[in-house]
Subunit: 219 residues, 2 copies
Amino acid sequence: MRLVIARCSVDYAGRLSAHLPLATRLLIAKADGSVLVHSDGGSYKPLNWMSPPCRLTESEGQWVVTGKSGETLTVHIEEIIAEHSYDLGVDPGLIKDGVESHLQELLAAQVNVLGEGWRLVRREFPTPIGPVDLMCRDGAGVSVAVEIKRRGEIDGVEQLTRYLDLLNRDPLLAPVHGIFAAQEIKPQARVLAEDRGIRCVTLDYDAMRGTDTGDLRLF
Amino acid sequence: MRLVIARCSVDYAGRLSAHLPLATRLLIAKADGSVLVHSDGGSYKPLNWMSPPCRLTESEGQWVVTGKSGETLTVHIEEIIAEHSYDLGVDPGLIKDGVESHLQELLAAQVNVLGEGWRLVRREFPTPIGPVDLMCRDGAGVSVAVEIKRRGEIDGVEQLTRYLDLLNRDPLLAPVHGIFAAQEIKPQARVLAEDRGIRCVTLDYDAMRGTDTGDLRLF
DNA sequence: TTGTTGATTTCGCAA
DNA sequence: TTGCGAAGTCAACAA
């Protein structure tokens, strides 16, 4: 990995065009040929960059990085303030815990929190337009399709609506009710869901993780 | 901006939990307190990070970065291989050209390419659930709502469908037809749109930009 | 290889 | 401040 502090201007030509006026920035050239242009602020996103696969061609006062489909990132270097190079080796990678699939696991093990006497039919219930997160039957034996999101927005309601439209054409299943479950539900999504007769449930990840899952399960 | 090359392990605890085993990495501490942990590969996204606003607390062999809502990024530093510090100043920022709003401008100036005798009623035509990108009338005077996307996916078709449902309740406008226009339309989106009687149009940004009079290429 | 979905998305605009 | 849609989104996973 090469780190260069330089006064530079940058031009990108690809799906869009972008330009950065002359200023002092950090240039990172990674081992795979990718280049990042960072300023001393903003979030983790560089001001400009080229993703791999790509190739860096260096000439006097200019870097040209060419991407697979012809995009180019051109860095005009006015002055190099510092330059360092290090061998980092391959990174062992990130281990995550607490994403949407975990929510699905937890709720699948605790469908009783949706209502008295509910049971899980199956996770990832298949339909021609994709799998329903959870298929349940409520206390009265009525089918309920559950869509689980970390953040509940309109798209999720539309997705569940398409599933329900389809599932309700199956006389063996119909009527199929719907539940939209998320850690956080946006007001517009809630309004749309309830307007369509879909029940909204807010999930508490920490509470679900802490709950003993065995005590109310029915088989 | 501080650049540190170090053998370190990293733990994040926030909306999710994440862990990085011991390895050599680049640590970037920006002026606003944010911290980025980069490896020598991947894309522009760091392995782990903390977005501003946040605060970096340093102690012997350990950085603790605390975010506004209590998330923490903890970097356990085993060995510092190199450390540099630079004053970059404030960046003048990025200038972009070629995004969705430009597509809308271009098509608004060339609605005749959608059909003989078409005219623009207005851009950003207001409805209670948000503005329609373009409202037109075709050669026969029938209203047509146009939704423009850079990438046409199912969400965009759903969005246009909601507009059409609403607009067709207005007897002064009805019947209102729909056009889904994008630089690239996903097959599923095309099928759904055409199933609902919405016409799909693929836009060529370069051709539209190069055209004065509107010989837009339709595929 | 292609397509679809989630994300500690981030970012920008408007109400 | 909040909400919502766009992004050069990226990245993981399935078909």
